[in-house]
Every structure is written in C-alpha cells, then in structure tokens.
C-alpha cells in the first residue's frame, strides 16, 4: 500500500481504434485502490473469489494470481498423479516428468525402469527404486508418452516475440487413433478418464483451424460432443471432468452457440478456485436471447445464481444482487457482489481531484437495494449488509441512517474476528468524524483512542492484515484540520495538516513550539502531535531563516545554533562568490577551499558586517554581502540555504515557490543594495563596472519576477514566456555608457548574451 496522498489527480488514458469493436476502455484512474477505499473485501468475502475483488487498475485483484493457461493446473495434476502412484514418487520428480521432461527423457526413464538401460543420467527421475508395481508404472509411462505428443498442439506458448510465429501445429490424425486405441483398451479408471480428456481436447484442436476460418461451422466431424456425452457419466466429477467440460464450452463458443458455452463456463467457474479465472474470462453472452437461454439451461436455482454472479462481476453488480437475492437470500454468492458494489461506489469519479468524499454520488437504486436487503436481515451475513448500507449512507451524507445501520451491525458482528471488528471501528469512526460539527474538550477526549489507533496502523505498530485504512486516515487528517480551522484554532489545525501560510507568521510558530515543549500534554495533545511532522530543530531553523532575510543576523545565529545539525549541513557552493552568468552546477563543482554551512555562512555575514561598521575593506566587504544575499535567492547558488520542509525543496521556477515566501526568496533587493554601496566604495573603474553589472543582474531578476507574476495572472504557460521582451533597466545603460572602456565590460560582452543583444 502506498503512502497516503492528500490529493489524487486522476488521469484519463486514450487508446486507438482497435479491432474488436470496443475501441476505448476506460479503466478509471491510475491509483492504488487502498488510497480511496474504506471497505475491505477480505473482511466479508470468501478467499476463493479474491481475484474478482474490485480493482480499478488491474485485471485481477491480488498478487498470488496464476493466470498462465499452461501452468494453472500443474499443482493439481501433480497431486492427482501422486495419489495414483501411492505417493511413492516425490512431487519434484513427478513435476519434472509431467511438465518439463522431453519425450526422449521420458522414454529413458521408462527404459531404465524396465531394465533396458543400465545407466540413467542423474537429472532424469528414476522410478525403478520406488517399488511401484510394474502395471502401474507401465500405465503411467504409456499415458505420458501419448500425453507428451499432445503438448505440441495443446500448449500454446504465447511468448511475444519479434519472430514471425510459426504456423499453428495441427494435431496429427495418427495420434487420435492411438489415443482412441489406448482409451478402448484401458481398464484403469484414472488413466481412462485422462485419455478421455485428451481425446476431447484433441477434438477441440482438430476442428479449430476450420472454425477459425469459418465460424459458421458445418457438421462436427471431430466427434467432441458425442465423445463427451457418451462417457460423461462413466467418470467422477473431478477436475479432469471439468477441464474436459471447459473444452466442450469452447467448442460451443467457437460455433457461436453462446447460450450453451456460457452456461457450461458457469459450471466450470463454480467448480473450483483455479477454474474461476479462465471461466470468467471466457464468459461472453452476446445478445439478450442467448443470455436468457443460458439461464434456461440452468438445472436449478444454484446454477442460475452462478450465472447471475458471473454477470454481476463482469457487468452489473446490483442487477445480479437483486436476482440472486430473490432466488436465495442466504446465498453466499451475494458477498462478492456486495463488496464490489461498495468498492466501486466509493471510487472517486474519473473527472475529480479528490481530497474528501465530497465528489461521490451514490446511485439511488443501489442504495435502496442494499438498504432493503439490510433491513430484511435475512442474508447469511446480516452485519455485512448493515455495514454496507451504513457506509453508503455515510458517502451519501445521510448520517442518521448510517448510524442506525451501524448500530444494527454492531449487535451482529461475529466474535473474535479482528478484521471485521476493525472494519466496524473504522466505519464508525469516519461516521463520527463526518457528524462532528464542533470540537470541544469532550470531543477531544472521545477521539483519543481512535486517533492513536490510526497512527498505530500507519506506523505499523498495529497490523491488521488487508485492512484498508488510508481513506480513513486521510479523512481524519483533512477533516480535523478543517474543523479546527473553522473554529479559529490554527495551531491544532496545523498539527493535522500543515499549511505553508501558517509558518509565515512567527507568532504561530511560537504557539506551536509552546505546545511541542509543553510538559503535561493532555492525552489528546499527545495523540494529535503524532500527526505533526516537524521537529523543534526544524522550526528553529525556519525562524532563523526569516531573520536572515530581515538582515537580523544577530538574532538568527542563536536560533541556528538551536537548530543544531540542520544548520550544519554543507552548502553546495561558496555563497560569497559571484559570476557573470549564473551557473549553479559550475559553482557546485568549483574547488572550494572552505565549505560553508548555514551557521558558518550567517556568522561570516555577521563578521563582515562588523568589519564594515569598523570601516574596513568597504568595497570588498560590501561586494561579498551583495554576493551572499544574491546567492540565497532563487537565482543564486545557495538555494539549499532556504529550502526546508516548510518552504519546499523542488522549486525549479520562481512560481513553484510557495506564495508566502516567493518575494523573499526571489527578490534581489538586499543584494542590489550592497552592490551599490560597494560601487560607492570602489577605487577603480573596473571595480565599479563589476558592481554595476551585479546590480544589473539584481535588477533583471526583479524584472523576471514581475514577468513571472504577470504570466501567472494572465494564466499563460511557461513556454509562452518571452524573456526577450523584458525591459533592460538602468544598470545595463550605465554599464554601457560609463564603463565601455573597461576590461570587465568586454568580459561581460563576451559572456552575457542579453547584454550583447542590448548593446546592438
């Protein structure tokens, strides 16, 4: 499960017109289902249905799905042969013989068993040492030899590749004869049934090429149906039977007898967990007429229910629930459908950016249906229906109804089921939150245990397998932050959801620091602070930062000292250097004799200011201050100085900087001031030229800032940004008019394209 994210931006994806008639599939958003879900299907639905739990982004739910047609039944097959061979051959050897050994290796193994070979390579399983009766081993190898030959057409190794696929292997007619002879002669039920399966599968592939070319069919020369019907009752209804049945369904499907095909697929679907995925995948009613015929083919209510469940999971949960409920209210096939209906209903709409449940609209018919069944109370899991009805009502903002259903559910919850109990707690808590209008001391007291529990889940101090709690967590954080804000308690609001604006006001920070350092915190305060993400050190650093930009260096230093390690990280470049063209990477890579940290940087500023106050090295010192204050703007080489958990790390454009700090971190006014003072103290024309150009950079940056601001106001895109139209300002003119004879001027002309074009 991913970390919670407050806002999920949901994006559509488009695909091209494709073959099958369906030209565009809208799978919904691209997100982890846990993020928006408050309802855990695992709490209510039998595990065998887990691949069909609702998921908005993958074909089957879960990570333990085997959707490989070639290996799906391998485990089962090994088990069956293990039983047949009296467990005298280990599973590994059996699997090797059955699935991976070549016909030659199978033959070697058999000949070694019969004593026709003296030595058997170690990698080929040896059945000689098993003390199995010869008749059984003979039967096994005779069958296996034939079965291996069938693999050529039956195993479709769909490896996507750049080589043109070899033509489909058609079954060899002789093989059918051999299978038939073996079948007729076999007296062993186990072997005989498997040969029957091989013959049916053979027949399916035998008629396949003709059907692929012309699905209008013609007579069935393969004899598949006859073969199936003739011996169907002679064998047990085991997995081999149902696999044969699957080919019968395939036969009908290829011949466009959809009524039969889909009915038979539903029987396979119902048989076992392993058969559910391929059967559901094959289930395709075409028109209402064949669907109705499939229903008529069902021999009893249970078979009808299975058909409706399939329709439900593929297309229409509520219609299927309605039908199944009318057939048998106690059916456990309702569970999967209800879980899907809920998980679909709570999914945010495709066009929304969600940060709450506000955008969700519950289909009125679905709600009425679930409420009705919950109220009737005659299903096999009444608490499931009551929780579902309660939750749909919460989503629909009908909290009174929600409460009623939850109360009913509470009385019906199964004992000692942690997951169901946690699901109830979670739903009950989100209802509490939704109904909470004013937070007073009583409410705070009531919330303590739930807030701690959610924080425990988040921090993995409490784990309840499969429980989906991210939505509840997000709703708690955003909901409580919002309510406190409404009540005017910005500090508590900020504890749940930090906003940048909060930190623009030092009084806020001080109040928060008081709370963090308070000695006797209430249980609620303790619980609440588990949702707050910053440390005292980070707050001190931020306070110091603000003071630096106010040029209050002396007050900033002690706070930086309190910020401790946060203020002791090396800055990537020397913040007292300058260059004609800003190049952060060049500065980062340049040799730095002295590395500065935030603390040593600010103390150096203090020392320089002291020298200036004493009248020493006025040109150099003011130039250094100009550089220092330039470099701690967005355009300088020391962005790292102002980037923190409050101001953010990732701004690449001035417009990415939080609006509260944007002017502070982009304005070069302080730097410009010191460059101009330095110019006044300069001794040479070269020095003056340099100060003038540096001031020009500051001036230009402020013009950029203004352009960016205007750009944002005009809602234009970044690529429409036109630097060339930015006015040039006064210092370019001064540089050109007063300092054109200096060497520095010539250097600028060489390095700075803007100045060059200005000069033309």
């Amino acid at each position: 499960m991913k970390k919670i994210s407050g806002k999920l931006l949901l994006i559509f994806s488009l695909a091209l017109l494709s073959a099958g008639g369906i030209v565009w599939a809208c799978g919904g958003g691209d997100w982890d289902d846990g993020e928006y879900s408050n309802f855990t299907p695992e709490a209510f639905v039998d595990h065998q249905y887990s691949p069909f739990f609702y998921t908005s982004w993958q074909a089957y739910y879960g990570t333990d799905i085997n959707d490989n047609s070639n290996t799906r039944y391998n485990e089962q097959v090994v088990k069956e042969w293990g039983d047949y061979l009296d467990h005298k051959v280990n599973s590994k050897d059996l699997a090797a013989l059955l699935f991976t050994a070549s016909p030659g290796e199978v033959d070697s193994s058999y000949r070694y068993f019969k004593g026709q070979m003296q030595l058997l390579p170690a990698y080929i399983p040896d059945l000689k040492s098993t003390s199995l009766p010869k008749a059984k081993v003979d039967a096994f190898f005779s069958y296996l030899t034939l079965a291996k030959q069938c693999e050529s057409f039956a195993i479709s190794d769909v490896q996507y590749s750049w080589d043109v696929k070899t033509t489909v292997v058609n079954p060899a007619p002789q093989l059918k004869t051999n299978l038939m002879i073996a079948f007729d002669h076999s007296n062993d039920q186990f072997i005989k049934q498997r040969l029957w399966f091989q013959l049916i599968r053979y027949s399916y592939f035998e008629e396949l090429p003709a059907l692929n070319t012309d699905s209008s069919a013609g007579p069935d020369h393969s004899g598949l149906v006859t073969l199936f019907n003739k011996y169907e009752s002679a064998f047990p209804k085991n997995s081999i039977y149902y696999r044969a049945l699957g080919y019968l369904a395939g036969h009908y499907y290829k011949r466009k007898d959809y009524a039969q095909a889909n009915y038979i697929y539903s029987l396979c679907y119902n048989y076992s967990s392993a058969m559910k995925i391929p059967s559901k995948w094959s289930f395709h009613p075409q028109n209402e007429k064949d669907w109705k015929q499939s229903l008529l083919l069902a021999k009893n209510k249970e078979e009808q229910i299975t058909l409706w469940q399939m329709l439900g999971i593929v297309h229409d949960e509520s219609r299927a629930i309605e039908k199944i409920y009318s057939l048998n209210p106690q059916s456990d096939k309702l569970d999967l459908l209800l879980s899907r209906l809920i998980n679909k209903a709570e999914r945010p709409g495709d066009r929304y950016e969600i940060d709450s449940i506000n955008s969700i609209k519950i289909n009125a018919n679905d709600l009425a249906l679930v409420e009705r069944i919950a109220t009737n109370g005659n299903t096999h899991k009444p608490y499931f229906w009551n929780l579902a009805a309660g939750y749909l009502n919460t989503l629909n903002k009908n909290y009174i109804a929600s409460g009623k259903f939850y109360n009913q559910a509470k009385k019906q919850l199964p004992e000692n089921d942690r997951l169901v109990e946690a699901q109830y707690r979670l739903l009950d808590w989100t209802l509490y939150l939704a109904r909470l209008t004013k937070i007073d001391a009583k409410a705070e007291k009531e919330m303590v245990s739930r807030l701690n529990w959610l924080a425990d889940l988040r921090d993995k101090k409490d784990t309840i397998a499969n429980l989906r709690y991210d939505r509840a967590l997000t709703e708690s954080i955003l909901g409580l932050a919002g309510r406190y804000k409404k009540q005017g308690d910005v500090v508590k609001s900020n504890c749940f959801e930090s906003t940048t604006g909060f930190y623009a006001n030092n009084e806020n920070i001080k109040a928060l620091q008081a709370l963090l350092t308070k000695r006797n915190k209430t249980p609620f305060e303790q619980a609440m602070l588990r949702y707050y993400h910053l440390t005292m050190k980070e707050l001190y650093y931020h306070q110091a930062l603000m003071l630096v930009y106010q040029e209050n260096t002396d007050a900033a230093i002690p706070l930086l000292q309190l910020a401790d390690d946060r203020a002791l990280i090396d800055l990537p470049a020397n913040p007292f250097n300058s260059r004609i063209n800003d190049c952060h990477d060049c500065d980062f890579n340049a040799f730095q004799k002295k590395k500065y940290t935030a603390l040593s940087f600010v103390t150096t500023i203090r020392d320089i200011k002291a020298e200036i106050a004493a009248g020493k090295n006025l040109y150099t010192n003011n130039l250094l201050l100009g550089n220092a204050y330039y470099n701690i703007t967005h355009y300088g080489n020391a962005r790292a100085f102002y980037q923190n958990n409050i101001t953010g790390y990732s701004a690449t454009s001035p417009m990415d900087i939080a609006v509260e700090f944007r002017d502070r971190f982009t304005s070069a006014k302080i730097a410009e001031k010191y460059y101009l003072i330095a110019r006044n103290s300069a001794q040479t024309k070269e020095q003056k030229a340099k100060c003038t150009f540096m001031a020009a950079k500051c001036e230009r940056n402020d013009l950029y800032n203004a352009s960016y601001k205007k750009q944002a106001k005009d809602k234009k895109y970044y690529w429409d940004f036109d630097f060339s139209t930015i006015p040039v300002g006064q210092y370019f003119a001064e540089l050109k008019n007063k300092f054109f004879q200096t060497a520095y001027y010539k250097e600028v002309l060489k390095e700075c394209g803007y100045f060059r074009s200005y000069n033309k």
């Binding site: 488009l14 091209l16 017109l17 494709s18 073959a19 008639g21 369906i22 030209v23 565009w24 599939a25 809208c26 996507y160 590749s161 750049w162 080589d163 043109v164 696929k165 070319t213 395709h284 009613p285 075409q286 028109n287 209402e288 064949d290 669907w291 329709l311 593929v314 297309h315 229409d316 219609r319 709409g349 495709d350 066009r351 609209k361 289909n363 690529w719």
Partner: protein, 341 residues
C-alpha cells in the same frame, strides 16, 4: 452557374489526389462490398495496419502485438504497410535502443510482407509522440529509414501541427495528417462531435500552411457510440450504430424524443439492462453516437483544402475500410471528397 461548375471541375483535376483506405483490424478479411469500394474508388490503394509495438511491463521491452492475420488474398492490392507504436514504448525505452527497435520492426515487417508477396514503396509509422519522447522517436525514425530504405511516412496529429516548435517535425519523407479526433471524448451531453467539428478543427488548420512536410491526409469515415454511465464514459464502440439505437424496445432518444443534440451527434438512453452484440448495456446508460456522413467529411475536406499547401499525388486515406459499411458512404461521395484536394 455553368462557369462556376467548370471552375470547380478544373480545380478537381488540379492536384491529382489519390483515394486510399486504411484497414486497421487484426484479421484482414474483406466482404464483396468492401472489395468493390476499394477497387472502384481507390484503385486498390490500401494502408494496412500490420502490427502494433507496445511496451511490455513484465519483459521491460518493446514487443509486437496484434500482428495481422491475412485471410483475404492481397497480392493484387497496392499495399502500404502501417506500424503503430505506442508513445508509452518510447517513454519507457532508452535512446540507445532506438536503433535495435528499428531493426526489429523492419525485420518483422519485411517478413510479413514477404510472406504475402507484397511489393511496397511507402511505409507508414503511426505514433502519437510527445515532447518527452520526441528525441527517441525521431532517432527511431532515422534508424528505420536506414534499414528500410523505402519512402517513409509518419502520422501527424493535430496537436503536433499546432506546436511544431515543441513537438518537432519528424525526420521522414512525408507526413500523414490525421484530420479527426479533434475533441475530447466526453460524457457531456452538450459537447460537439469529437471526431470532427468545424470549430475545433479551425483551431488547428491555421498552422497547416507552414508545416514543413508534404502531407497526405486521413479523413474520418467512421462513427462510434460512447457509452456513458453516471456521467462517466464507460466504453467506446464502433459497432453500435443508429440502427441499434433506433430500436424503440431498447432505447429512447433524449432531447424531447429527437435524439440529435448537435451536428452528427445523437443521444439515446437505454430502457433496460440487456446484452446486444456482445455488449452489456445497463438500464439508463446513455449512448452518444458521433457519426460522420458524406456531408461532414466533405465539409472537413473543404475546410482543410483552404489551408493545406498544394501537393501533387496526395493520398487521401479514409479511416477505415472494415467499418465503412455502417457509415453509408458511397463511391460517388468518396470521389467527390477526394476531388477537393
């Protein structure tokens, strides 16, 4: 009047445009009607979709998909092979792999072509590339041209026409302007036809004149129905047409029983839950049918020719042949539309 007719007739002959068709299904099988249309209007010119190239998440490589299965003899047709490559392929692969991808695409294509004894002179690559994939896609195209040697064409979508300085102009011999899919496919009940509508098209045609590639043109000869449920798009179907929606026992037209809400846009609401043509429709689902008829394709062609730079032997490709019977487009219509160019 007669002078005007003569003038138009003169125009029609001027640039000698050729009609052609796309065929996009994975199984190539033509019925008699399609064969005749192809033969009589386009002199058997066919842009045949051979396969897709998609990104396989499991294998972490680009793989071919939906390789064409040819069931109708094809030797007498003038085939230009088309390969569609998803933009996702280029998003995921590295620039250095463009060369080997180009090699593989060319090899597979030539194997498929050789198996059918097809001679071709032009090959088309279709990819909705973006700013982020431009470098990789373009280096793929260069490599492909090197391996393949035939005339190379790349599809150009409208947004690529509008912002060539950002998306770039592909390094190919010729472009193919896809003059459709101009609007967003939306669940909105008042939106105009997303396949083609004059207003949305006008936002792009202005940039056509200066485009730096000779352009063939693909025109929409298809319709589709957008299935809408609870104000969200569920699915898009090419096989649901007006004939299906007009069945009163299944659907009712909205908008006071008219159904039509805009030019070539019709909305129907389902009366019940049922299956039709393998599609499941839920009660109250809406179907927004967006159609293209001879009139609207003609309008698109007229709008386009006002801005398109002149070109000899331009191909006008109709999308697409396998679904054309539903769009009631006749030979004479096609001749008339192509004659605009």
């Amino acid at each position: 009047m007669s002078i005007l007719s003569l003038y138009l007739a003169g125009c029609q002959q001027k640039h000698n445009a050729h009609t052609a068709f796309y065929y996009w299904k994975t199984t190539f099988r033509l019925d008699q009607q399609q064969k005749e249309l192809l033969n009589k209007t386009s002199d058997n010119r066919l842009f045949l979709h051979f396969f897709d190239v998609t990104w396989n998440e499991q294998l972490h490589e680009a793989i071919p998909n939906g390789v064409i299965d040819i069931r109708t003899p094809i030797q007498q047709l003038k085939v230009s092979p088309v390969v569609y490559i998803t933009n996702q392929t280029f998003q995921n692969m590295k620039v250095k792999d463009s060369d080997s991808l180009a090699f593989k695409v060319n090899k597979l294509l030539n194997q498929l072509v050789a198996a059918q004894h097809i001679n071709y002179t032009l090959v088309q690559i279709d990819c909705d590339w973006t700013v982020g994939t431009r470098e990789k896609y373009f280096s793929f195209l260069k490599a492909f041209k090197r391996f393949n040697g035939k005339q190379l064409q790349a599809t150009i979508r409208l947004h690529q026409i509008k912002y060539p300085e950002r998306t770039g102009v592909p390094p190919v011999d010729k472009g193919l302007l896809m003059f459709y899919n101009m609007g967003k496919i939306s669940a909105g009940l008042n939106a105009s036809n997303s396949i083609y509508n004059k207003e949305d098209a006008a936002a792009y045609t202005g940039s056509l004149t200066n485009y730096r590639l000779p352009l063939d043109v693909a025109l929409p000869a298809f319709s589709w129905a957008i299935q809408i449920r609870g104000a969200e798009v569920v699915q898009l179907y090419g096989k649901i047409g007006l004939a299906d929606l007009a069945a009163a026992q299944n659907f009712e037209p909205i908008n006071k029983g008219i159904g039509k809400i805009a030019e070539n846009v019709f909305i129907y609401k389902s009366r019940k839950s049922f299956y039709i043509k393998g599609i499941y429709i839920k009660k109250d689902d809406l179907f927004k049918l967006e159609t293209m008829d001879a009139g609207s394709i003609n309008q698109a062609a007229a709008q386009l020719t006002q801005k398109l730079s002149p070109l000899e032997n331009r191909n006008i490709i109709y999308y697409e042949l396998s679904s054309i019977s539903t769009s009631s487009l006749y030979e004479k219509d096609i001749r008339k539309i192509t004659a605009h160019f």
